[in-house]
């Protein structure tokens, strides 16, 4: 978490934390799993009331943020959601909201934003395809002009909350460039297939577009010139994802530390053994570094700084490398109980391991960094 919060921001965090602890503790997360429910709509609407969907939307459009730096506020929510492995389409909805705010038409703003902000409407971003490259080159789904509108053909996958979504923001190839379209999930020709997910607090879908016809009003931004929008969406997604991962990892390290102080082996707490102490020291150091890079990258994206792309990939490459490693060592420190279903550790490991690859893996972001630093 950023160490330089305003009083308003601290209140914002506190409100979200109290809400999550009361309404969606881990037992509730496990219940959702057993019931094969991704998230409850009323839970999401309440979250929306707390501001989870408003911070990237201007006040004129019904949004607003406590600090004026909407993304920095949202980072606080993401981190709290990580702490309790909370469900809900935080990343998809906010990425779409930000995209509409940035490049949507007046009609789109009016039609979509109020619903997203209120939590009534769920939208998600359909970007990646089967090759999971998470980059522009991986976009093969085509949009072809036809009469007054466009026809989309192809397949998107790894789409978070595709089944729950009312609207899909679809990134498509139009010739050499990219274009984006807002497509109702129930449009003719759209079919959604549920996928398996390591993180069972989330659901994902494959979305097939069998010559789906959309009107020209569905275009978001400029046809053939959506590259910057896509980059921006990726940055927002990554900042939130990284914050969530660090929140989750921080919680795991905290409770593992408590466990090490309490758990006795050979007459003394396991946390008194130097080999373990030193591993805790390393992990604590890495975690502080994770916090630092989340904050630095979030500020860069908030400010639309020149080095935002680089800092976001730096953060992802570091966090997605260290955080799963930290949680796995926490499993090791727990011993046998750490590999049982009963213990909550695996819920965090599932979340963090999945975040590690969604929107690009460590190696994919290292590759991005290499390109950005002139290799």
């Amino acid at each position: 978490m950023d160490l330089d919060l305003s009083a308003d921001q601290e209140l914002f965090v506190e409100t979200t934390r109290r809400f999550l602890e009361a309404e969606c503790p881990i037992v509730e997360v496990r219940r959702l799993h057993d019931a094969e429910v991704s998230f409850e709509r009323h839970y999401w609407r309440k979250g929306a009331e707390l501001g989870w969907t408003a911070t990237l939307v201007p006040e004129d459009d019904g949004g607003g943020s406590v600090s004026g730096d909407g993304l920095l506020d949202l980072v606080l929510v993401a981190e709290e959601m990580g702490r309790l492995v909370s469900p809900g389409p935080l990343v998809p909805v906010n990425v779409v909201a930000e995209a509409i705010v940035r490049s949507g038409s007046a009609e789109q703003r009016a039609e979509v934003l109020p619903g997203l902000v209120s939590g009534e409407l769920i939208a998600t971003w359909a970007f990646a395809e089967e090759d999971a490259s998470w980059d522009a080159a991986g976009v093969k789904l085509t949009a072809t002009e036809a009469g007054d509108g466009w026809v989309l053909a192809g397949t998107k996958t790894f789409v978070q909350d595709a089944m729950a979504a009312d609207l899909l923001l679809v990134t498509a190839r139009t010739g050499d460039g990219l274009s984006q379209f807002l497509v109702p999930a129930d449009a003719a020709g759209v079919s959604i297939t549920k996928l398996g997910s390591l993180d069972f607090t989330r659901q994902f879908g494959r979305v097939d577009f069998a010559d789906v016809a959309v009107p020209s009003s569905a275009v978001v931004g400029v046809v053939g010139d959506a590259g910057d929008d896509v980059e921006r969406q990726m940055q927002v997604a990554l900042v939130l994802q990284n914050a969530e991962t660090v929140g989750a990892t921080s919680t795991v390290l905290d409770f593992t530390l408590e466990y090490a102080k309490d758990r006795i082996a050979f007459g003394r707490p396991i946390g008194s053994y130097q080999a373990l102490k030193h591993r805790f020291a390393d992990m604590r150091t890495w975690l502080e570094a994770c916090h630092g890079t989340v904050t630095a990258s979030a500020k860069a994206v908030q400010a639309d700084a020149d080095d935002a792309s680089e800092l976001v990939s730096v953060a992802k490459a570091y966090i997605a490398d260290r955080c799963p490693a930290i949680i796995q060592d926490c499993v090791q420190l727990h011993g046998g109980i750490g590999v049982t279903w009963e213990h909550d550790l695996h819920l965090y490991l599932r979340r963090v391991a999945q975040n590690a690859v969604l929107y690009g893996s460590v190696s994919q972001h290292r590759e991005r960094v290499a390109a950005l630093i002139g290799m």
Binding site: G196, L198, I264, F266, G267, A353, V362
Partner: protein, 447 residues
């Protein structure tokens, strides 16, 4: 070993010849059907097929016992053959091509618990229990680890209180292999709380199917099971089921662990898994597994890289080769450690090298497979079992570094008992157990 009443021992070659003659008439061939193999047909006629795997396994052991090949190195007076490990390996080698993989269920019984009963049992106990498993009737398991104990096996909280001619057991055990298969369990319990922890432990032979003993499969992070947890509530055991001396159970348990190490390391004279088609690489000792031809089986990671069209990517090649190199080096470490221990160049605790090395390799290999697989290892098409397995395997990545002695314990053993570095100060070994800091027994699982 005393072989009272025997004349000179049968030679290995003679024994091998007898086995070679007997086996085809009595054991089922791998992949055989009832149509082409009379043994297989006989088993099928008794409904002893894969649907009744446990019964089939027990029946097979019974057939081997009846044939005079069970417990090759066990003393003849308790039903064994009174021969040597060499004879056992000869028999096992002759079993190549026969489907005896189910007999692995007897590994713990023959290799670890049997030798312990031989060492500590009364004449009556040996008479009854050794034959009891040689015939296939009883499979034994261990009630050893406790939810509160972790690596500290001697901090036993499960209690045995004397009541007349019986012991009354209360407590819980966990990480029991074959918990749902076993007939008898070797149970470690505390019988005296007023003495230091190692001095108040006793070992009991505990029937598994007995009132008050609840065996529950343990659900793992992967969602599957594989071990059990047991709850003992006023379980009553006859007094004569004590194994060894009262309150000297740590001695018994320590020998059990030595037999475990020998058995797992391939150095047991009492047990080696008969060769079977499903046996993996890297088994130590006994008959060496046949050298695999080059390219006979491709590394899983090569397949994965191919499937992801990354086989020509230099980074992927580095990762796959790293994992392959580690596995190959590991396959040479096993024989080396066995040889070193055999020649006395390495002390027995050097067995910990293997556990530590191989479990670390597993961890790294899991990571590498996740790197190569990428997103589909965490979000998969529902019919893509391979991706799902990879993701779940990653969740279970540490299991090999935790179960059967954590890597931390292996490192303690190596540093103290192989390298001679000072031992960790022990705060609890000289103090009455009821004055020692220990964890408290939970009242039940949180399920």
């Amino acid at each position: 070993m005393s072989t009272t009443g025997q004349t000179t021992m049968e030679s290995v070659e003679s024994f091998r010849a007898r086995a070679a003659a007997w086996i085809p008439e009595h054991l089922p061939k791998i992949g055989a059907t009832g149509n082409d193999d009379p043994v297989t047909r006989r088993l099928q006629d008794q409904n002893l097929d894969s649907d009744n795997y446990l019964l089939r396994t027990k029946a097979l052991q019974g057939i081997i016992y009846d044939g005079g090949f069970a417990g090759v190195a066990y003393p003849a007076e308790y039903g064994g053959q009174g021969l040597t490990a060499k004879h056992m390996h000869a028999f096992n080698a002759e079993c190549r091509g026969y489907d005896l993989s189910g007999l692995g269920a007897y590994g713990m019984t023959f290799g670890m618990i049997g030798p312990t009963i031989l060492e500590f049992g009364t004449e009556e106990q040996k008479e009854r229990h050794i034959r009891g498993f040689l015939t296939g009737e009883n499979i034994w398991i261990q009630f050893l680890s406790e939810p509160t104990g972790g690596s500290d096996l001697a901090s036993v909280l499960t209690r045995a209180d004397r009541d007349g001619d019986e012991w009354v057991i209360n407590g819980s055990k966990i990480w029991t292999s074959l918990g749902e298969t076993g007939d008898y369990g070797l149970l470690v319990a505390r019988t005296n709380w007023d003495v230091p922890k190692h001095s108040g432990i006793s070992v009991f032979m505990c029937p598994v199917h007995t009132p008050g003993l609840e065996v529950m499969p343990l659900r793992l992070v992967t969602g599957s099971t594989g071990f059990c947890q047991e709850f003992f509530t006023d379980v009553r055991i006859p007094a004569d089921h004590l194994l060894g001396t009262l309150n000297d159970g740590w001695t018994v348990a320590s020998r059990l662990l030595v037999h475990e190490r020998n058995s797992v390391g391939g150095g047991s004279q009492y047990w080696a898994q008969p060769y079977s088609g499903t046996q993996g690489e890297g088994a130590m000792g006994g008959e060496p597994a046949p050298m695999e031809g080059r390219g006979a089986r491709r590394d899983d990671l090569v397949e994965l890289a191919d499937a992801n069209a990354k086989a020509k990517d230099p980074y992927t090649r580095q990762l796959v080769a790293e994992a392959y190199v580690a596995a190959k080096v590991g396959s040479h470490l096993g024989p080396r450690v066995a040889q070193g221990m055999g020649k006395g160049v390495l002390p027995p605790p050097a067995g910990s090298f293997l556990k530590l090395f191989n479990s670390s390799n597993q961890v790294r290999r899991s990571d590498i497979s996740m790197v190569i697989a990428g997103t589909p290892a965490t979000v998969w098409e529902t019919d893509d079992r391979s991706s799902e397995g990879r993701g779940l395997g990653y969740l279970f990545r540490q299991a090999g570094s935790i179960l059967s002695g954590t890597s931390e314990i292996q490192r303690n053993i190596i540093s103290e008992r192989v390298l001679g570095l000072p031992r960790e100060p022990s705060l609890d070994s000289k103090v009455p157990f009821n004055q020692v800091r220990h964890n408290t027994m939970p009242t039940g699982t949180e399920n």
